[in-house]
Symmetry: C2
């Protein structure tokens, strides 16, 4: 990613320097932001990028005792934490920088692009610590969050189970109060946890002194019974090694067993595990004086039954982060294929009067179809980044804007944009990686070039942290209709404002009108989908709705970026003018090649096309 593009989005489009007007960020300025970005870029270049292929081919192994990872993994994870990047957003007195979330995202983007498999450890740890800081008691923060903020421990999120992924209501991991004095433990109400957790990234390794698991489980009576559905689902912090009040892992090991590693198609730099909690492999005592028994010890966070709510507080950030990861893989493929296209000679453009076979071959970047594939990648990756950063700025507004009206608006807009920020880059930057392979031709299909790995790595993003289908249901089934459609209305108004501002530039007037009209069609399709209030037929085509909503959102983002580019053009020197014209051309590509795709998706939504719903098993 050219740093210039990131800087343009941050400082010229999103006016990130203005964030120092928030009291929390008052010490910050463009200079401090630049310093953080420089550091992140340097560490990503030195400790992450050179090892991205290595961690793909040296998949994690387990010898029955230890998980083995390449040495580069520990070095990368350490360097990231040592630079203070996990704690970056936190208070000064916790070793943080009180960095805006927007700038934190920008810093993270370098790591995602350099090696998504290596960057996941730090991202998960940060998310885990953030959740504990938001919902834990002071003692829990001290014992479990602080060690993560400084890199002494790493974190995981344990939600899924082998039989329950999208349907978290069906988890069967149980938490039973641990003794009559279970509420007396200084680290929080103490439970014994029993159950199997699947797809746990970073679930076992020796990269840090401890691992802090956040585990969803249902609180059960002593006889093991629980209520159905999401009732009783609570959140527990479950350390790999038991800690003292300062969070020091003073032992013993908790009753958690690594049941196996998952062998993935990509994203292999991140060890992914099946963990068995409380099977009795490592029985331990509840207190120093107690008798060892089976059951992993976990401390409840917050109220019983509020586990999903706490987790979803974190999940929204995680989803934006997944989108950012997908985006940066899109950038990685774009950069690689752009470099290749500039150097690879092949063929000659066909011109009037036919080809001249005696002319030298041209670099393939001169072929229109290659330019189209590069331009598409640019539009996907840069568009994804712009949307992700836009959401990042909303997060800052939600948390720290002094004006409650602004906070409310940012909260609502963020709600409806989150499924898009997660799903759109996951789908389209994957397609971008597909185009990167295509530009490399046969070479792109080999492991001698990096693009096939980007494509494999990126494929996970439509699955984890809520599948595409789940995002669609969240958008059309909840976000678009909540509070009488308030979020949808706000989205519509925001787009209208952007169209109005862009429309004053003659070059953008037609495009602004097209984006505005497309947003109208989304609103109408939403109403049509719900016309008889039947969730089954309304939601049957929630995924095409998600796709249409995403493309219109991205058209709005590109329109607004184009407006900013156009505004900057008159004063731009040559290099800068190239940068700005590139943005305009990518926007133009998006309006011409991508925005028109919306109608086909919206059509099935608005007509509540029943082809899928009415399909019968016997007909497949």
């Amino acid at each position: 990613m050219p740093r210039a593009t990131l800087d343009f989005f941050l400082f010229d489009w999103l006016l990130a320097a203005d964030l120092s007007a928030y009291p929390r960020y008052s010490d910050h300025s463009r200079e401090t932001f630049d310093a953080v970005l420089d550091t992140a870029e340097r560490i990503a270049d030195e400790r992450f990028a050179p090892f991205n292929r290595l961690v793909d081919v040296s998949e994690p192994t387990f010898d029955g005792e230890h998980v083995h990872l390449p040495e580069a993994t520990a070095a990368a994870v350490e360097a990231h934490a040592a630079a203070g990047l996990i704690a970056a957003g936190h208070d000064y007195d916790l070793g943080g920088m009180q960095l805006p979330y927007l700038v934190e995202m920008a810093a993270n983007s370098f790591f995602h692009m350099a090696s998504i498999g290596l960057s996941a450890y730090g991202m998960l740890t940060a998310a885990n610590a953030n959740l504990l800081m938001a919902h834990g008691t002071p003692a829990q923060r001290q014992a479990f969050a602080h060690p993560q903020l400084c890199g002494a421990a790493l974190g995981t999120m344990c939600l899924s189970e082998p039989q329950a992924g999208s349907s978290l209501a069906d988890i069967v991991t149980r938490a039973v109060a641990d003794g009559d004095d279970f509420e007396a433990d200084p680290l929080g109400p103490r439970y014994r946890i029993r159950g199997n957790k699947m797809w746990i990234s970073g679930g076992e390794h020796d990269l840090a002194g401890n691992i802090v698991h956040l585990v969803l489980a249902k609180i059960a009576a002593r006889d093991g019974s629980t209520g159905p559905g999401v009732r009783g689902i609570s959140l527990f912090v479950v350390p790999r090694t038991m800690v003292d009040r300062a969070g020091e892992p003073v032992g013993p090991r908790n009753d958690i067993a690594l049941a196996g590693l998952n062998h993935k198609m990509g994203y292999r730099g991140t060890v992914n595990t099946l963990l068995n909690f409380g099977e009795g492999m490592r029985p331990l005592a509840s207190t120093d004086a107690g008798t060892p028994s089976a059951g992993a010890i976990g401390y409840r966070i917050g109220e019983p039954g509020r586990g999903l709510a706490y987790m979803f507080h974190m999940m929204n950030e995680a989803r934006i982060n997944v989108g950012l990861g997908a985006t940066m893989l899109g950038f990685a493929g774009y950069a690689a294929s752009l470099g290749y296209a500039r150097e690879r000679p092949q063929g000659r453009p066909r011109r009037e009067g036919g080809k001249d076979a005696t002319a030298p071959q041209v670099p393939i970047i001169e072929h229109a179809d290659v330019k189209r594939m590069l331009l598409a990648q640019k539009a996907y990756a840069e568009g994804g980044l712009a949307l992700g950063l836009y959401c990042g700025k909303l997060v800052d507004a939600v948390r720290h804007d002094p004006d409650p009206v602004t906070v409310a608006r940012a909260t609502t807009l963020l709600e409806i944009l989150t499924p898009i920020a997660k799903s759109w880059p996951s789908e389209w930057c994957l397609e971008g990686n597909n185009l990167a392979i295509q530009i490399f031709g046969g070479y792109g299909y080999t492991r001698d070039f990096p693009v096939e790995q980007f494509w494999r790595d990126n494929r996970l993003n439509m699955i984890h942290e809520g599948t595409h289908g789940i995002q669609g249901l969240d958008l059309l089934g909840r976000k678009a209709i909540m509070d009488d459609g308030a979020a949808l209305k706000l989205w519509r108004e925001t787009i209208r404002d952007a169209c109005f501002k862009a429309g004053r530039f003659q070059l953008l007037a037609d495009h602004a009108a097209a984006v505005d009209a497309a947003a109208d069609r989304v609103v109408r399709a939403t109403q049509d989908a719900w016309i008889d209030d039947d969730p089954q037929s309304a939601l049957a085509n929630a995924t095409p709705y998600l796709q249409a909503f995403g493309h219109v959102t991205m058209a709005w983002i590109w329109l607004d970026v184009a407006r900013a580019a156009l505004a900057g053009l008159p004063d731009a020197a040559a290099d800068r003018a190239d940068l700005l014209r590139g943005k305009l051309q990518a926007a133009r590509y998006f309006f011409g090649f991508e925005l028109p795709k919306v109608d086909a998706w919206l059509d099935v939504v608005a007509t509540r096309n029943p082809a899928a719903l009415e399909m019968r098993d016997a007909w497949f």
Copy 2:
């Protein structure tokens, strides 16, 4: 693939049994066709399918002397040849069955689905032998084709070079006449070949007694000079081991060195090589009495300078076959994900009044979004198969229809459909595999389930035998405008006839009108693209044109299949009615969800959208 679907396409839709009306096929009947299909299905089940993952994880290795492949590879290749399937289409007196090409394709489909990596050896060998039978001298057929037909030798196609893939005019492999008596060799004019050939599937192995390479090279003067462009490109048969007149590999080894194996993302069952011809690693004498010297010995096929023409004769079949391979990978993913969706419980459909969390979970096939993803895969895979078989029947008509008008029409229609038969399944059955992974969720991303391999394997198909971009240029730059648009007109008429026939069914009337109108828009867009006869702007969006043309073609195919299904419905028993209703529902899906995508692609073609063409290097 349910055999019932293949049978329906062959016998109910394409009326394959009627092929016995051609004199060449007069001994054949539904019964003989069934027997061949049964044999192919059995061998694919026993010798191919069980080893598909094995050949993915046991990638070919080279120890400096030999290429090592799993034993299962030799067993599969042998069983396929031993059943007479390589020779199937050839004359009885060559050990063939005089099988229609259509039925041969249907038989091959089982092998592609069972293991595309294993099936490639036989397919390449058949294509190689077919080319030699069409263009070789009797002596060349005897020495090089016959051993391949019986499986004693395997074949390759050596076109690409490291610096020349899509641009074959730029190959630098040279052929120099071998001695003054070079024309006196009984196996054909003898040349010394020098150059490097890249991406050669099956280029080196010990699976058979010999390997027969077909090599494109430029005939050079003794001083090495050649003309520019395609002039002088000729075709040579170059055996790995020198043969006697009967084709027995009596040695010595030819001067061909394996320079390396390509390490691919997928399709790993097929060894893929870089071969150096004539470097002098294995100098050999031109005749028994001669002195050994560097240069691989090759025998020219046909006329000098006609190499590309001969190769393209074969290439059209190869392209249809690539499309069939992509299609069958689509079927493989469809079958796997359908099975999984029927068994995996997860969640509950949302109905009016909300969910009942106490209800048991449902198999995910009951979710509309999963049904949508299955239906899409069905529409892609079955549609791809229908189109492939339709083209296969055209091949039979071209070769054996007694009526010259029919031959001419079939030839022309096949010309314009070939780029679609190759590209459409390569793109959309890859997307089908993507959906198969999505249905499996996290499990689909692991190597414990087969779908991730299908996706990786399938990714090659948009690249080899002419990339997507090359297919687009072939379609819009050549096929659609050749002979004053004759092929396009014929395509249009063929669709109109199908729409007319389908339109008589009330259920299909609207769809027929939609398909007819879409075909009109393709014709208009073609004219608009070429409105000022400038190839640069006309062809700038050749790939979106290819996509639009493909989707309209597929809508026509589905319309015609739906007509046949509807016609059969009144007399159908329950099982058969399910089969037919499945076809109707897949067609309905295609008309509702896919056909409307055409407009976005055609729009950029018709307006000659210059976004890609005008993009400048400095703006990326």
